[in-house]
């Protein structure tokens, strides 16, 4: 019924690693290979965002979440995509601070959504309660 659930369960580990490395890069102690590290983190974040999209579609089709909730998810994911695009654009011009800041901004909503979508049991009411703190990513 939820074919993407096992993969989604790996998201917290992925995101935890991403946040730790992003914080290190933003603190000014980034190693010379910071951009390469960013590329890997960015690729993982894009993959995670897409995974949330697919899982949300599955949850909606299974009626675990409502259409209204799905619209909110799509809206938040649009902001996540914008933040990821901004992060990637900043990285292309070597702006590490902006790149890591926007990457971190994108990861926040992804982490909340992955947590809420893996709630057991997942129901409309439970998702509503879980997603109270869900806000769009803010581009810095």
């Amino acid at each position: 019924m939820r074919p993407f659930l096992p993969a989604l369960l790996l998201l917290p580990l992925l995101l935890c690693d991403a946040c730790t490395t992003a914080t290190t890069a933003a603190s000014g102690t980034a190693p010379p290979t910071a951009l390469q590290t960013f590329d890997a983190l960015y690729a993982n974040a894009v993959q995670a965002e897409d995974l949330v999209l697919v899982t949300s579609t599955s949850a909606l089709n299974s009626k675990f979440i409502s259409a209204t909730q799905a619209k909110k998810i799509l809206s938040v994911l649009d902001s996540v995509k914008a933040a990821l695009d901004a992060a990637n654009a900043a990285a292309q011009v070597g702006s590490i601070g902006s790149a890591t800041g926007n990457l971190a901004a994108a990861l926040g909503p992804i982490a909340i959504l992955s947590s809420c979508l893996t709630s057991k049991p997942l129901t409309i009411a439970i998702f509503e309660t879980c997603a109270v703190k869900l806000t769009p990513a803010v581009i810095s």
Binding site: T57, L60, N61, A70, L74, A82
Partner: protein, 69 residues
């Protein structure tokens, strides 16, 4: 129902709508153009938007999902 779904998908992907308009005007649309638009937008996003449009149509909400990206 079909029109609602189509509207949801097109509303979510304005660039696809532009290709439809181009084709309707008699100008050729290449597969490369379509692939380029889809790669920029993301097919999973379009599928999600379509699923929302379908759910709303089933619920009689009369609104369609749109995506800004």
């Amino acid at each position: 129902m079909i029109l609602v779904l189509l509207q949801g998908v097109l509303g979510a992907a304005p660039q696809l709508l532009a290709l439809f308009t181009q084709a309707k005007a008699g100008q050729a649309v290449s597969t490369t153009q379509v692939a380029q638009v889809l790669s920029q937008y993301g097919i999973d996003r379009a599928v999600f938007a379509a699923a929302i449009a379908k759910a709303e149509a089933a619920a009689g909400m009369g609104q369609t999902a749109t995506s800004s990206s």
